[in-house]
Amino acid sequence: MTTRAREFGDGVRAQLPILVGVAPFGAIYGALATGAGLAPDAAQAMSAIVFAGSSQFVATSLFAAAAPWPVIIATTLIINLRHLWYSASIAPYLAHLPARWKLGLAYLLTDEAYIVSMQRYAAAPPAHDHRHWYLAGSGLALWLTWQLATAVGVFVGAQVPAAWNLDFALPLTFIALLATALQDRPALLAAGIAGLVAVLTAGLPYQLGLVFAAIAGISVGAVARRTLARQP
């Protein structure tokens, strides 16, 4: 087997256990989106165009609340802001690639694909130049699962009773992501401050509370890191 095929296969395999959790999540999104009044084709297209589960869930609730479109796009920006860090930290491993590869892999750079790929890249020294196939494999496996799961959810529709609390899967997924993001004390502080500010500002319109909370958390985290670094 070629190195490329092996890297691709390893990427797919690393993603398999995560797909078990992602598939129901995608189906829930599909059901909620049609329940929120989105047309089936638009609900399905959001999974292909945006391909970022958490922001799709929040956008769905904003569509349901008839929020104006600039609010929906700005909220998407804030929620997906974390991809800036993913992009910055994975960039050195993709630096040698041509532009079309960079664009394709950027499109596939979800939380899940980023986490498994970075674990792989951090563990193994750069032995060859085919490591991007690992990210391609994990990213495509997730992409295919997400599209199919969305289709199932759209098809089954809003027949799932609200008492099942399936919308609760969203904060739960974020809790799982947050656990991997809390890598040092400043991160813990950033999360604590952001959570506190988000609760205190929850009444503000246009998701402004989210903006204030993010700015407060990021600043406190960065300042704490610099303060700790200065200590002997």
Binding site: I18, N80, F168
Partner: protein, 115 residues
């Protein structure tokens, strides 16, 4: 919102998302990030994730709910413990959902018992 507006909104969401993901992958080697920007970017994921989670656990239909009557908060706390101990997304989600079912089922009985 009209169908055309929906599709334009989706296009805007997709553009914003792919630009964020592409940003530093495309700019690598062309710009060097100042240390302070790198330090700030590092804390975007924990800050944004926590800012979404906290209100989702504490509020219900826009109202702050007292902790005693809030199964979602306690299910979330339990899920956070699972996430912290196992680092396993599936265990976190399944554990949190089962906990919410259990707490919602137990809550009325607990309230009746407390009078």
């Amino acid at each position: 919102m009209s169908a055309a507006e929906v599709w334009l909104t989706l296009a805007g969401m997709g553009l914003v998302t792919v630009l964020l993901r592409l940003s530093f992958i495309a700019l690598w080697g062309r710009i060097t990030l100042p240390e302070v920007v790198r330090d700030a970017l590092r804390y975007v994921p924990p800050a944004v994730l926590a800012a979404i989670i906290a209100p989702a656990l504490l509020f219900h239909d826009g109202q702050l709910v007292p902790a005693s009557g809030q199964p979602r908060l306690w299910a979330g706390v339990l899920a956070a413990l699972i996430a912290w101990r196992t680092r396993n997304a599936l265990a976190t989600i399944v554990g949190g959902m089962v906990a919410l079912f259990a707490f919602e089922w137990l809550a009325p009985m607990l309230r009746a018992w407390l009078g």
